[in-house]
């Protein structure tokens, strides 16, 4: 069982603090790192992947500090960047062979096994320049798995994928997550909702919440309301400006995040992860929503 411990990681660029004393402990399973753009997700995973160095703090894998393990640290890491790119004149098979050489993998068949796993074996002799976005993502996952890492880090893995590719990708991740740590950095809530057992909410470099998915949803129980406005002269745009509205449906009305009922006939509903995201990470609105009753 793999153990990843991150202690007090901070990173600044000039006066801007991108990460502020980030600490977390992870063992085998899938973890979602959720946050809006600019939260510090990519910086954090770049530090864990060994691409960037932190200003302070330390990271250890299985109790061994990264600084002490030296180059051996990278043997435990598999990294898939956002919008993965490869050399366009290489074939998929060559990419896997190159990755194996970069990661010091001796097993020559590993590349083909991984291509088969991600359903790219038939395209192994095709040049990567001709791959679709979904094929490139799958190749990137295979490349990240070359060294059978204990810790697999995925940066926005489903960005730009169509629904079918997205489902395919989730299935791959679910299969991989049983015997390693998988850390998925994303701002697409639905991805982690299906895949992650534990969610870390990050905003402006700080951890907001770090708990299992179901507990996170329970933490805002009684703060999510379903409301269907009545009357023809209802000013929807103004209402949206005033309240945290997570969903608008013609059939069901609005789903509103509020500490108290936003209107007389608002009904409390079971929170979802989208609601959690909005509740903790949307800093645009305050809880003055309950003061504003229906017009």
């Amino acid at each position: 069982m793999a153990q990843l411990e991150i202690n007090g990681i901070s990173k600044s660029y000039g006066k801007k603090t991108v990460l502020d004393s980030f600490s977390a402990k992870m063992s085998d399973g899938v973890y979602g790192l959720l946050g809006p753009n600019g939260a510090g997700k990519t910086t954090l995973i770049n530090i864990i992947a060994g691409i960037l160095s932190a200003d302070c703090g330390n990271i250890s894998i299985n109790g061994v500090d990264k600084a002490k393990s030296g180059k051996a640290y990278y043997n435990s890491i598999g990294f898939m960047p956002q919008y993965p790119k490869f050399y366009p004149n290489y074939t998929a098979a060559e990419i896997m062979e190159y990755m194996a050489a970069l990661k010091g993998v001796e097993n020559k068949e590993r590349g083909n096994e991984l291509l088969n796993f991600v359903n790219l074996y038939d395209s192994r002799d095709k040049k990567v320049g001709a791959f679709s976005g979904g094929m490139r993502q799958r190749l990137a996952i295979a490349a990240a798995m070359s060294n059978d890492p204990e810790i697999l880090i995925l940066d926005e893995p489903t960005a730009g994928l169509d629904p079918i590719e997205r489902i395919r990708f989730r299935n791959i991740i679910s299969q991989l997550g049983t015997d390693r740590i998988i850390l998925i950095a994303t701002h697409i809530v639905s991805d982690v909702e299906y895949m992650a057992e534990r969610i870390i909410l990050l905003n402006e470099g700080k951890i907001i919440k770090d708990m299992p998915c179901d507990e996170l949803c329970k933490s805002i129980e009684g703060k999510v309301w379903q409301y269907s406005p009545q009357g023809g002269d209802f000013d929807l745009p103004r209402y949206i400006k005033k309240h945290k509205v997570s969903e608008i449906s013609h059939m069901l009305g609005m789903r509103i995040i509020s500490d108290g009922p936003p209107a007389e006939n608002a009904v409390s509903v079971t929170p979802k992860l989208d609601d959690v995201f909005l509740y903790y990470l949307d800093s645009m609105k305050t809880d003055g929503a309950e003061k504003d009753v229906e017009q």
Binding site: T43, N46, L52, N75, Q82, Y90, A101, L102, K103, G104
Partner: protein, 406 residues
Amino acid sequence: MKKILTLSRFELKKLFIKKSLMVIIAFMCLFNIINIVRHYNIYADGGLNDGMFNRAKYTVLKLYGGELTEEKLNEIYRMKSQAQELAASGNYSLKYDPDKYYCGYAFGDAMIFIELADEAKRLADYSDNFSKLVSESEELLKKDFINDYYKKINQKATEIYSSRELTALTNNKGISDFFDYKFSSVLCIILLILGTVLIFTADRDAGADVYLESSVNGKGKSAAAKLIASSLYTLALTLLFFVIDLISFMVLLRIDGLEQPLYSLSSYFSTPLTMPIWQFIILYFLFRILGFLCITAVTSAITVILKTPILSVIASFALFMAMIVCKTYCLSDSKRWINLFNPLVPITAPKYLKRYDAMNIFSEPVIFIGATALCVLIITALAVCTVMALSSLKGASRKRGGVKNV
């Protein structure tokens, strides 16, 4: 080592990311061949080429060339005398008669035999001329006013130039043109800079640098692999242009006599080397490899420092221009030391081996090209160390960091 060689294969493949480089190489080769044919096709008619005259000279050389026996020399001198009398008398036919004259004209044939005799005399008198110089050197050594450094130079000259002899007349003059030919070196340097910058920036350009930075062999071993790949590219390019040049000159100028000593060439009559011409061709090739590898290593270091392809190419070409300026203008004794570190010097090594060209290093005469080769080797090693050191730094290529992608 096996891992580095495997990585080198993939680094070489990155050269082919941009097909334009291969097109440029092919175009440069063709351009080079056209340039050689244009300037050195002396046996063809047309333009400024006096093809008929040169072909006739070649025919006469084939008839009278080879080992210079007493009998042959006398025959050549006799032909020269006849030619000089004919030319002086003015009593010769102006009619084109290829059956009677080698080049078709009486005056033309006369000129051919005068040139042939002059060349034969130069070869025959070589030994005597240098014996006189050696005797003069030996006399000079006995004088008190001469300082230690010049004593040593004269001693070395005495050792080198004594017992030299030339005994054969061949058509090897054209090989001097090959040694002096510089155009392909310029083309080679342009291609080296473009290819080397490509190897070292391909990862960042392709957006694949993150894979290297998050892999155990992605820093030091990859940098070593890139250096090996760029060295192999340099060797291949150097060999390609060298072979093209040599074959072109050999064919166009109908060169033979490569087994003759280097000093048989008129422009190399006082070279300190005693090896045959074919060995000097190999030595010249090795000097070129050294010079080009230095340029490759320095370009690699510039690219690792500057990171972006355009800046790296500009900086490398600027340095190349500076090298040309130093080579052209730093010729005086006080400025010459700058060219010790100039890789263009070994690339044009034959120029520095036409005579005994020594530098005073701690009162010892050191052959300039030898000292330069050593210094260029040191520069190459320093550049390689710089590449390895900078590549091993964490996030060395990550200027973008995480700021844009947070």
